[in-house]
């Protein structure tokens, strides 16, 4: 792999920073140089959050240039569409099937974009957009906070690290009492992409973006 540029986006409180931290730590454990940076804004909860993760043999800028993102991992649908300008043509977008309408939508001042509108916007750049049921899965698992591990599981199929590296990194970052639950969510994310979206048996680790030109 020459380089891998990832944007993780969503709404404050969804666990985006921990997810992008784990991506960075897994990259370091796998022997890469890595830089990551978060833009959080003022709000403790509820604002737009974006993490840039850059992985390569040597990384200079922590911020990704527009049009160079290989993989978009969006925890919320509107926050997926918002960052489309950053995607390179043919990028992969993984979008959690979940809407958190901003206040202007709640007050009835403007509409929330439909799934089709979001797909069309992302389609200007993205080669493949996968809608995944992360929030629904995390709710059924009994803890919505496991959404970030589910999303990491989805992303992991497009990143060249061993499953073992991921699980060790996750285990270092989450408390012992909730480790098993988080690993379950991670595995479920992998399964979601592998079975539902890539077709059973078609993808091991390193599938998708990695196969095409970067390996």
């Amino acid at each position: 792999m020459k380089k891998l540029e990832i944007l993780v986006t969503g709404v404050g409180g969804q666990g985006i920073i921990l997810a992008s931290d784990i991506m960075g730590e897994a990259a370091l454990a796998a022997g890469y140089d890595v830089k990551k940076t978060d833009t959080i804004g003022m709000a403790q909860r509820g604002g737009s959050v974006v993490s840039h993760v850059r992985i390569a043999q040597r990384v200079w800028s922590p911020l990704i240039k527009e049009g160079e993102v290989d993989l978009l991992l969006a925890f919320e649908k509107l926050e997926a569409a918002r960052w489309t300008n950053y995607l390179r043509p043919g990028a992969v977008a993984i979008v959690n099937q979940h809407a958190l309408p901003p206040l202007s939508v709640n007050l009835g001042n403007e509409p929330y974009p439909s799934d089709e509108e979001i797909s069309v916007i992302l389609g200007h750049r993205s080669g493949r957009t996968y809608f995944v049921s992360g929030t629904q899965f995390a709710r059924e698992l009994g803890d919505v906070r496991t959404l970030n591990m589910f999303m990491l599981g989805c992303a992991s199929l497009f990143m060249p690290f061993k499953v073992q590296t991921w699980k060790e990194t996750i285990s270092q970052r989450v408390a012992a009492g909730i480790r098993a639950l988080n690993i379950t969510a991670f595995d479920a994310g992998r399964k979601e992409i592998r079975n539902v979206h890539l077709g059973k048996g078609s993808a091991g680790h390193g599938a998708g973006v990695m196969d095409k030109e970067d390996v």
Binding site: V11, G12, D21, G24, E25, L28, D33, V34, K35, K36, T37, D38, T39, I40, G41, M42, A43, Q44, R45, G46, G47, S48, V59, W60, S61, P62, L63, I64, K65, E66, G67, L78, E79, A81, R82, T84, N85, P89, P101, P102, L103, S104, V105, N106, L107, G108, N109, E110, P111, Y112, P113, E117, V120, I121, H124, R125, V144
Partner: protein, 608 residues
């Protein structure tokens, strides 16, 4: 040890390994995590001080006593602390003292975009700037050594992007602390700045600058990286990282020490490249200082002065300077700019929402749904605001803040408006941590000058916006020890305010009565609105629900601006996953149709 660390974590670890023994700070984005990280080491005294000025004085005292000390703050914090900062630069020290100032280009979470590099020149102290976490770690050891070698505080200037980026750090040192016991060497000509002594110090400071400039010539983090000779780039901080990507063929002079500048090194670099461009964020600080040496450089002709840089902006700057060729970026997608924005909001269950709703309705500011911007009516009160989460009350639908300038300004501004003679009653709104930071002296001033304003202290028992740090009102130290809590109501009464009320942040009736009564009182009044920050609540209460039968879609509940209260096809519903439930119930209290309650109550009513 190889780890992925943020710039702030690396600064803290670097200081710890360099033997820092006292660290003080007041929380402020993007600097907060520095003190949080160092507070985890039990063999350091780490404290949240009441404000940056006090923090600086604590660090100064420790350095006078012969132990290495540090103080960290955001860019505007150095304004507050500038008096002891320059005092420290004047007297010098008895051990290393490092001042970390974290600038916020792009104004991610600040009230201005000032460039604190000017403070190094003003105070005549050396300034170091890391460009990633490795350098942040390394630079702290240099900073303490320079401080002791030249008898001066050292300013380490970081920025949001360095502080809040994580990169790989090889931490090869371990902690070393000087063996000598703390002691203060009595020396009045050095430490007592009577004019007669201060006059002696000034020439010492000027000599120190000359010596520092000579040191800068060989300073290890001022590095030349030779590439092609057609272009030489001079840069520091994160701007260097952007420039490295944008100008892969160029030669680089990377400055880790940006004041005083290494004149000979810069001159030599200049003679060996055909053209020089300076890539720096905010002001042309390097550019002007280099131009003053008579060296031809460009920079701000192509790189914007305002806002945070990024690789795209540096690329465009390079293109306009004729230094970058190749295809411009892909055209932007129009539909993206039309997506609904997501401005930051008060959280569901926020203890500020109730008092803001009351103030907003009493002063005629509530903005009905569908209306854009503020209502046309002139509000009945003037509400001076302050710095914290509650500044977000400025936005619709609450529209409840008329000013926000700097920490503690609300009270002085309110008094000034009253003394100017405006006919409206003036209310100052300030958070508990901000009040303790710099609201006490203007309160004393309002007592002394017979103010008639109303001051509302929003007491959520934490410093919420920066991530829930302790403060003197909480009675818990930065290192988690139980200590003595300052009681706000006793403090306020103690300075002579007689009309003092403490009210529950989640009781609309009580809030309304307190505000009405304070506004009717022609004397100075203080209302302490008390309620815990909802982000810190451990368990959620039972969420509220809207009865479809009773709700007549008057939309009154939407005027709270609560993120949990949402609409679908014109009907209001409450998102159970967001609702703070029994801990809040504000919507339930203001619903004119009594259509909001918890599920079990609704069912009980509906099936008699």
């Amino acid at each position: 040890m190889i780890k992925l660390l943020s710039g702030n974590e690396a600064l803290a670890l670097g200081a710890y390994h360099a033997g820092v023994q006292v660290a003080a700070a007041y929380p402020g984005t993007p600097s907060t995590e520095i003190l949080e990280a160092i507070a985890r080491f039990s063999d350091v005294h780490a404290e949240w001080s009441t404000n940056e000025k006090v923090a600086m004085e604590v660090a100064l005292g420790a350095a006078y006593a012969g132990v290495r000390s540090m103080v960290s703050m955001k860019q505007v914090g150095l304004n507050v602390a500038s008096d002891p900062f320059i005092a420290a630069a004047t007297t010098g020290l008895n051990a290393g003292m490092v001042v970390i100032g974290a600038d916020d280009p792009g104004i991610h979470s600040s009230q201005n975009e000032q460039d604190n590099r000017h403070y190094a020149k003003l105070a005549k102290v050396p300034m170091l700037e890391p460009s990633d976490s490795q350098e942040a770690y390394d630079i702290m050891a240099y900073a303490f050594d320079i401080s002791e070698r030249f008898d001066t505080p050292v300013l380490v200037r970081t920025t949001t992007r360095v502080s809040h980026s994580k990169s790989v750090v090889r931490a090869e040192r371990s902690r070393t602390v000087p063996k000598r016991p703390p002691a203060f060497p009595h020396n009045v000509t050095k430490y007592v700045m009577l004019p007669v002594h201060a006059r002696l110090r000034h020439p010492v400071i000027e000599e120190r600058l000359v010596k520092l400039a000579a040191y800068a010539e060989t300073f290890a983090l001022n590095q030349v990286e030779w590439g092609g000779r057609a272009l030489g780039v001079i840069a520091s901080g994160v701007a260097y990282q952007y420039a490295r990507e944008v100008f892969p063929e160029a030669s680089f002079l990377k400055l880790g020490m940006t004041y005083p500048l290494p004149r000979n090194l810069i001159r030599q670099f200049a003679t060996r490249v055909e053209r020089i461009i300076v890539i720096e964020e905010l002001d042309p600080f390097l550019q002007e200082n280099i131009q003053a040496m008579g060296i031809r450089v460009s920079g701000k002709e192509f790189i914007p002065r305002a806002g945070e840089l990024n690789p795209d902006i540096v690329t465009e700057g390079g293109r306009s300077a004729g230094l970058v060729s190749g295809n411009p970026a892909l055209p932007k997608i129009d539909a993206v700019s039309q997506l609904p924005r997501r401005p930051p909001l008060l959280c569901p269950g926020c203890p500020h929402t109730g008092i803001f709703f009351v103030l907003s309705s009493l002063s005629g500011r509530l903005n009905p749904p569908g209306g854009k911007g503020r209502s046309a009516r002139e509000p009945r009160l003037v509400i001076t605001g302050d710095i914290g989460c509650y500044t977000l009350g400025t936005y619709p639908p609450l529209n409840v803040m008329d000013t926000c300038a700097c920490m503690g300004a609300s009270i002085g501004q309110a008094l000034g408006m009253e003394k100017a003679g405006i006919s409206k009653k003036v209310v100052a709104v300030i958070g508990d941590s901000t009040f303790l930071h710099s609201g006490i002296t203007p309160l004393v001033n309002a007592v002394y000058n017979e103010g008639q304003i109303t001051i509302i202290i929003l007491d959520n028992h934490t410093t919420a916006m920066t991530g829930h740090q302790e403060h003197p009102g909480t009675g818990i130290s930065a290192q988690g020890k139980k200590t003595r809590a300052v009681e706000l109501e006793r403090l306020v009464r103690g300075v002579g305010v007689t009309d003092v009320r403490v009210v529950n942040a989640f009781d609309i009736k009580e809030l309304r009565a307190a505000v009405r009564s304070a506004l009717d009182n022609p004397e100075l009044s203080v209302i302490i609105v008390r309620g815990d920050c909802s982000v810190r609540l451990s368990g959620r209460g039972v969420p509220r629900v809207v009865s479809a039968e009773k709700c007549n879609q008057c939309d009154a509940c939407l005027l709270l601006g609560c993120p949990a209260i949402q609409t679908e096809n014109g009907r209001v519903f409450i998102e159970a996953a967001l609702c703070a439930g029994s801990a809040c119930t504000l919507c339930q209290q203001i619903c004119p149709r009594r259509a909001i309650s918890q599920q079990s109550e609704l069912e009980a009513e509906e099936s008699p």
